[in-house]
């Protein structure tokens, strides 16, 4: 075993989120005890570690949605050599960024009987809106293998590999039958970043874009495809305003397809 003082100090922090991106660390059941031999888990509240900084490698789950989040993320940035945003919330603001498109006062009144007691920002944003970020790992939730690769790369001193390809390519590599071609499903795999292993298409479901946009997505062509498949503008709008709604490319594409009021 290496000397404790030489072990890199790892930290995991949570902001506005569901904790689902911290879980992959706890799901490394077979590796967790080995990992503890070579790195020091210095801060990870969910696992019981709460040592003060500085940290060599900090993973951040969750978006920034209130004053306290903003204060804490700045402090985490100051204390961390390498800061990595993990998952939809930390990268883009998460599913709850759907609230960004509604007025805050209306939201508070809809959920709380005493809205004046609730204090938060009008939006939930990814952490890069507040601090500089050294790496981004997408996914809703983040992939357990990607986290491991990232940790190992940092320990070896090499640049972590982060794919910019699309789910479509992963699907081809798995030799899946294309859902768009064979079943006329408006599958978002063509413009979604890879990393999931084409999970949903492998289970006969269209991709809904939970890894966010791939590099240079052809949004216009996909929207045309959706129309050809018979989707309404409102349905195209909802495709982009869903799990990953606050990535710039998806957010702006949603705005190009204005939903029509639905009759009840």
């Amino acid at each position: 075993m290496t000397d404790r003082a030489e072990k890199p100090r790892l930290a995991v922090f949570k902001f506005t989120s569901c904790s689902g991106c911290q879980l992959p660390f706890l799901n490394m059941e077979t590796e967790i005890l080995d990992l503890a031999e070579s790195i020091e888990v210095a801060y990870f509240a969910m696992a019981g570690a709460s040592q003060p900084g500085p940290y060599d490698l900090a993973f951040v789950e969750g978006g920034i949605s209130c004053q306290e989040d903003a204060r804490r993320i700045r402090k985490v940035r100051e204390e961390s050599r390498i800061l990595v945003a993990i998952g939809n919330c930390a990268v883009y603001g998460g599913p709850q960024a759907l609230r960004n498109f509604l007025p805050l006062e209306e939201l508070k009144r809809a959920v709380y009987p005493q809205p004046e007691l609730i204090h938060c920002f009008p939006t939930c944003q990814g952490i890069a809106d507040y601090v500089s970020v050294d790496g981004f790992l997408n996914g809703c939730p983040v992939d357990h293998g990607h986290l491991q690769d990232y940790i190992v790369s940092v320990m070896l001193g090499k640049a972590p590999e982060v794919s910019t390809r699309s789910v479509c390519l992963e699907c081809k590599m798995k030799e899946n039958v294309c859902l768009i071609v064979a079943e006329g499903v408006a599958c978002m795999g063509v413009l979604t970043g890879s990393g999931c292993g084409a999970l949903c298409p492998s289970f006969d479901r269209g991709c809904y874009g939970c890894f966010g946009p791939s590099a240079d997505p052809n949004l216009k062509s996909f929207a045309n495809l959706c129309r050809e498949l018979g989707l309404t503008e409102e349905e195209i709008h909802r495709k982009f305003r869903y799990i990953v709604n606050n990535a710039e490319a998806f957010r702006e594409e949603a705005e190009r397809h204005v939903p029509q009021p639905v009759e009840s």
Binding site: N27, L33, A36, A45, M46, G48, R99, D204
Partner: protein, 437 residues
């Protein structure tokens, strides 16, 4: 403040942003005992309005990474009920197996990684594994947790967020060979379940834990024939009974200052408490035969109103979940891919499932085009907050002679008894203890 019927947001999870505030007066009286939740609001109930009905179960599983399946299945059942959609027997069984897989993962995690380190005096499970005497059982616990996760992957396609389960059924089903391989591993885990129950009983039967007792309104689902996980009626040890779709009538919530999580009460009754100990109390007769046999062997019987016995109840449910999963795999045989068919229909309904940490309620109103007009949800932790403060008031005076550090730890353990959600149940909770001199 008078009780009001409210919409609940989910924010009760409070990981990292919950504080416990206890003030003890100069004569040892408790002046304040509060658990304050500052987890930022996420407004799920507000932005679900206007979404399509299929999208709700997909979005709500992202409320909580720890019990996504409970939120997902509650939402599916509520939306299906609202539109009069009937699912096949195979879908019901697969949903049950999916949820028991989650219980196996969650209970193994809570017992060993969250609760046990407190009882044996370690900071974390990794520190606990440093003790050569404890390493073998920690290894087995991580193995059982892995088994729960592998089962979830086999059924849902992903270990956290399900990908195959949708409104009306499944888009993909596990093969018989996959299920049989899991069954072999489940059978091999039975011994571990038994060891866990023995260990849990040994830990909880020490002082002061075994003397701390408080009778309360224990609420869970109930079914006279089958241990309730996805279906059953609402039930309490004190004579309350109602169909689960009526939860909005019976479970009331109030908004209190200094807490972003609304506090729940049972209409006409008062504070309530939910979770494994409450389920086991209300449904002891339908636990698996082996779980009941082990209960007798470790000296656990119902009624039991000792919150620190929750770890034993959780261990008995772990045994029961392993037995139930084996049985479900046998009944499922070779699952078939079934067509998913339903039509949009206007309606309103609600449904309750049992998350590992207690009842999880979802529901709302859908229009004829399948667009959600209203959505409501209550996570388990919301229900336990008020009751937890009652535990503080009942137990802190009995422990008041302990030094501050030990008393704080005991209070943290009182929170952890309810496994609020693993993240909030751990050491992230800031404890303020003031003694007035």
């Amino acid at each position: 403040m008078s009780d009001r019927r409210l919409y609940v947001d989910y924010l009760a999870r409070m990981e990292g942003d919950g504080a416990m505030d206890i003030v003890i007066g100069e004569n040892g009286e408790i002046k304040k005992a509060a658990w304050e939740v500052w987890e930022p609001p996420r407004f799920f109930e507000a932005f679900l309005i206007g979404r399509k009905v299929e999208e709700a179960p997909e979005l709500v599983q992202r409320i909580c990474g720890i019990c996504p399946h409970a939120h997902h299945i509650s939402s599916l059942r509520a939306m299906e009920r609202a539109m009069g959609v009937k699912v096949s027997e195979q879908t019901r069984l697969l949903r049950e197996l999916m949820h028991y897989s989650d219980w196996i993962m969650s209970h193994a995690l809570h017992i060993y990684c969250l609760a046990a380190p407190d009882f044996v005096g370690y900071e974390s499970v990794v520190a606990m594994a440093g003790n050569p005497d404890l390493l073998p059982i920690v290894g087995k616990a991580l193995g059982a947790k892995r088994l729960g996760n592998d089962m979830i992957v086999a059924i849902c396609g992903h270990e956290i967020q399900n990908r195959t389960s949708v409104l009306g059924g499944y888009t993909a089903v596990p093969s018989k060979a996959t299920l049989q391989a899991l069954k072999d591993r489940l059978k091999a885990s039975k011994e571990f379940g038994y060891e866990t129950a023995k260990l849990a009983a040994q830990l909880a039967n020490a002082e002061p834990y075994k003397s701390l007792e408080r009778k309360a309104e224990y609420v869970s689902l109930y079914d006279p024939k089958r241990y309730p996980i996805n279906e059953g009626k609402l039930y309490s040890n004190d004579g309350f009974e109602a169909p689960d779709e009526e939860y909005p009538i019976w479970i009331l919530e109030k908004h209190v200052p200094n807490c972003n999580c609304k506090h729940a009460t049972l209409k006409g009754k008062g504070n309530l408490v939910v979770g494994p100990l409450m389920r086991v109390n209300n449904n002891f007769g339908t636990l698996s035969a082996d779980a009941r046999k082990i209960a007798a062997e470790v000296g656990f019987s119902v009624p039991c109103f000792k919150p620190f016995m929750s770890i034993v109840a959780r261990a008995l449910e772990l045994v029961h979940a392993i037995d139930s999963a084996i049985e479900l795999i046998d009944v499922l045989g070779e699952p078939k891919l079934e067509p998913i068919k339903y039509e949009y229909k206007a309606g309103e309904s609600y449904a309750v499932t049992e998350a590992a940490r207690g009842i999880c309620c979802h529901g709302g109103r859908v229009d004829k085009n399948g667009v959600i007009q209203k959505y409501d949800l209550i996570a388990p932790t919301a229900r336990n907050i008020a009751s937890l403060e009652d535990d503080f008031r009942a137990f802190v005076p009995k422990l008041v002679n302990l030094p501050d550090d030990d008393l704080k730890l005991k209070c943290e353990m009182m929170i952890r008894n309810y496994d609020p959600c693993q993240s909030c149940a751990t050491h992230s909770i800031k404890v303020n203890l003031h003694r007035e001199k």
